[in-house]
């Protein structure tokens, strides 16, 4: 029997950016009627690969084949015309336009004098939406749709052409379970029509539900392909993380100090409810849960960026009111935020000034900022965190992701906090820096900090935490000690299954 012709095949793709080799000889194929999952940690090169497939990046080397014909795709439009469609994770819709217009963006059917042929447009778009089981009509304005329905519009775009391969980039990131079921039906339907599907996700359970094969990327290189039915999560994880990152389980530390931070019955509207926990000095408490489970919102509340609707916060046993970051800082709380580019750094500002920003008021000689004091702090944390930058004058925007993250961490360590909250400490940085940051977090705890780590990466949480708090949909489901916690019971907890309660 002849092997089927791949819908899409890549051969030795190399893509470099100034200073980074994002893809290093990646080969990959997806067969018609196959769901091929693409896995890899943040920074492994998935998004670069996908953008290369969709014509948004041009590879420096390597070849791309559609049904074994070599193609060059210079723009997303060209890729789409050739039958390769990318469904973005970040929705790329024009909000004030109708669903139909977004579906046929750039290809509106026309009549004479450049008039839009609305009848044809709505008929065609309506048909596609019906195929997707959408409950809204093609004339609905996108700004009136829920996030899930907006995603349906994105997916509908892929169906306007005779797609040979469709790439889903983390499609379930903002979907509810019910919506997920609908999405999976759509994927199975596409599959039955012989479309090749590339499915990118972090969520192991989804990948094992939907995919036929799994390919793994690590550090921009291809690490192998596994048949889903014949492999296990362990095997995939191992391939994904490799030996370069030591993620052995954290040995529970024997001695912790006093309770540094205690939270009682904290609630914030619909974001999270009745949150109670504490952190002792010298301890790392990990918060694990899906995006949107309320973890980040708790951190933001502790840092004075959200007003809780109920509950109390106690620092070293004393109740405190934190209504702004200024209060939080004064109370010895530091927050390394989730998004370093949007929340952590002023990208155009130099390294030194970014590190000293929260305390620039105190680093003065007379009315002026003291150069010497600033430099001293910069050098101290540059050396301690091994930040690699040619000079303190370098704009932070020019550093690598790992070094940027270290600048943010350095900025908050320099405040000498009692409680350090780190939200997604290693998102989008390379494996080497990851290990360094993990070690750093452990070290900080050992030197007496109370640390909260929020992460969506299970190995990370297991590796750094002394205790793990699992959250689901705004509630704490369960708290595990390092000895109790396993991947299985953690997965169960964050999927909303209450192991300790009868449903």
């Amino acid at each position: 029997m002849m092997a089927p012709i791949p819908a899409l095949r890549l051969e030795g793709i190399v893509k470099t950016f100034p200073g980074v080799r994002a893809l290093d000889g990646v080969s990959f194929e997806v067969l018609p009627g196959e769901v091929h999952a693409l896995l890899g940690e943040n920074g492994a090169g998935k998004s670069t690969l996908m953008k290369t497939l969709a014509g948004m990046h041009q590879p420096n080397e390597g070849r791309i084949f559609i049904e074994e014909n070599e193609v060059v795709m210079r723009t997303p439009l060209e890729a789409k015309a050739k039958g390769v469609v990318l469904i973005h994770q970040e929705l790329s819709l024009a909000e004030e336009m109708s669903a139909a217009e977004n579906i046929y963006l750039g290809e509106l059917p026309t009549k004479s004098f450049g008039r839009v042929d609305w009848k044809t447009l709505y008929a065609k778009a309506g048909e596609i939406l019906k195929r997707l089981n959408c409950k809204f009509g093609p004339q609905t304005r996108v700004s009136d749709l829920s996030i899930a329905n907006k995603q349906m519009v994105e997916i509908a775009r892929a169906l306007t052409v005779n797609a040979k391969a469709v790439i889903f980039d983390e499609p379930t990131a903002s979907l509810t379970d019910a919506e997920k079921v609908v999405l999976f039906d759509i994927i199975r339907d596409l599959k039955a029509r012989g479309v090749g599907i590339v499915y990118i996700s972090h969520r192991m359970e989804e990948i094992f539900t939907i995919s036929d094969r799994i390919s793994v990327l690590r550090d921009g290189t291809y690490r192998g392909t596994l048949v889903t039915a014949e492999t296990s999560e362990d095997e995939v994880t191992q391939l994904m993380i490799g030996r370069s990152l030591d993620l052995s389980r954290n040995e529970a530390q024997v001695e912790f100090g006093d309770v540094a931070l205690e939270v009682r019955g904290l609630s914030c509207g619909s974001l999270y409810r009745d949150i109670t926990f504490n952190v002792r000095s010298g301890e790392v408490v990990g918060f694990y849960g899906l995006v949107g489970a309320g973890r980040t919102e708790i951190a933001e509340t502790l840092f004075g960026l959200r007003t809780p609707s109920a509950g109390t916060i106690l620092l070293e046993g004393k109740e405190v009111r934190i209504s702004s970051p200024v209060d939080a800082i004064a109370n010895g709380i530091s927050l390394v935020p989730e998004s370093r580019k949007e929340q952590g750094l002023v990208l155009g500002m130099n390294c030194r000034d970014n590190i000293t920003l929260p305390q620039v008021d105190d680093l003065t000689a007379g009315p002026f900022v003291s150069d010497g004091a600033e430099l001293a702090i910069f050098e101290q944390y540059r050396d301690r965190l091994e930040i690699k930058t040619p000079s303190w004058r370098q704009a932070v925007g020019n550093l690598s992701g790992g070094n940027q993250q270290k600048i943010v961490i350095g900025k908050w360590l320099a405040m000498r906090p009692n409680v350090l909250i780190v939200d997604e400490p290693t998102r989008g940085i390379d494996v080497g820096s990851k290990a360094e940051i993990h070690n750093l977090i452990r070290e900080l705890a050992r030197s007496g900090y109370a640390v909260i780590v929020i992460s969506s990466e299970m190995p990370e949480v297991l590796h750094v935490s002394d205790r793990v708090i699992a959250m689901y949909s705004g509630e704490i489901i369960r708290e595990f000690t390092a000895a109790e916690v396993t991947e299985d019971n953690l997965v169960q907890a964050i999927s909303g299954i209450r192991a300790d309660k009868v449903a």
């Binding site: 439009l77 024009a94 004030e96 963006l105 750039g106 008039r115 509207g269 974001l271 004075g304 959200r306």
Partner: protein, 329 residues
């Protein structure tokens, strides 16, 4: 059924609050002033607002597209000067009333050309439209002064000023012109591919680019359209006055932007419509007219307009807030 239509109306009003405001001031002036509710007065309002209104139509396209044009006031002066001056040139001496035609055509062409220049610079250099048209606003005014040598021109041909005060049936010609172009621009924006792509480019530029929409040409066309409307406003204004002065159109950019923003067009692009802009223009017109009839000095109108502009923005912000759960950034 009644419920849904009621809801649809409420939604529409939420999206076009300016029409609610218009009803309020309309009723207010009708009740409080005996001269306001009068057909002749309504005609006046339309004529008075037609100048700002025409430019606002073009500005709406440019702003939905994600740009802005500060040079419209200077273009008004240039077009007015060209239109009035050219018709008295010796070469057209034997043309009689037809001399108006090449003069007006040149004026409109100049407006379109300057719009094309603005658009081309924004497209090719990537410099922000605010800066490009700020430069043009200063520079085009310079062109006007060089051309006119700081002098006013007076229309020698009475047919030109007659046009400004003529009527088509029951309506003044200028009002008809404004209404017709309002409809045309509305159709252009809501029914044609160019109009829809204008929204797409302003609403989500990256998505538009990825969908293969050519951002540059659409921006350039919209700058040409606003240039055309500014020039047309210059022509109608000078025909009303029978003259053109080099300082004509000063501060028009501010009035036009005010009208457009009142009508719900967002400075960030992607949102707005001609019906809203028409409402914004009418609101300003009714306010000016009504307060004038009530003998409120024109100064107060300036204050009230400024306050309304800010109030609209404030309300819009409050309506779109997510309440107490919001991140305090």
């Amino acid at each position: 059924m009644a419920d849904t239509s009621k809801n649809a109306f409420a939604t529409w009003l939420m999206r076009n609050p300016i029409w609610g405001f218009i009803v309020i001031i309309f009723v207010f002036f009708s009740v409080s002033n005996e001269y306001f509710f009068d057909l002749q007065n309504f005609r006046n309002i339309l004529v008075q607002t037609s100048t700002i209104g025409l430019i606002a139509l073009g500005m709406t396209l440019v702003m939905i597209n994600g740009n802005i044009d500060l040079s419209v006031g200077a273009v008004v002066a240039l077009a007015a000067s060209l239109a009035v001056d050219l018709q008295s040139w010796g070469v057209f001496a034997t043309w009689g009333n037809w001399a108006i035609l090449p003069a007006v055509a040149t004026a409109l062409a100049a407006g379109i050309a300057l719009g094309a220049l603005n658009g081309f610079i924004v497209w090719k250099t990537g410099v922000d439209a605010f800066i490009v048209t700020l430069g043009a606003m200063i520079g085009v005014r310079g062109l006007v002064f060089i051309y006119t040598r700081e002098e006013s021109f007076f229309a020698s041909n009475f047919a030109y000023s007659d046009f400004g005060s003529s009527s088509v049936g029951p309506l003044p010609t200028l009002a008809v012109l404004f209404l017709v172009f309002t409809v045309v621009t509305h159709l252009l924006l809501s029914r044609t591919v160019h109009g829809r792509n204008t929204y797409a480019v302003g609403g989500n530029r990256e998505a538009a680019v990825n969908a293969g929409i050519r951002v540059g040409p659409h921006m350039m066309i919209n700058f040409m359209i606003v240039g055309f409307f500014a020039a047309l406003a210059g022509v109608t204004l000078s025909s009303q006055m029978g003259a053109a002065t080099p300082n004509l159109g000063r501060d028009y950019e501010l009035w036009v932007i005010t009208a457009t923003v009142l009508g719900g067009t967002k400075l960030t692009g992607g949102a707005g419509n001609i019906i809203g802009t028409f409402g914004g223009v009418l609101a300003i017109g009714i306010l000016r007219n009504g307060m004038n009839l009530m003998q409120v000095p024109a100064f107060y109108v300036l204050v009230i307009l400024g306050v309304i502009l800010i109030a609209v923005l404030f309300l819009d912000k409050q309506l779109n807030r997510r309440g107490k759960q919001e991140l305090k950034i």
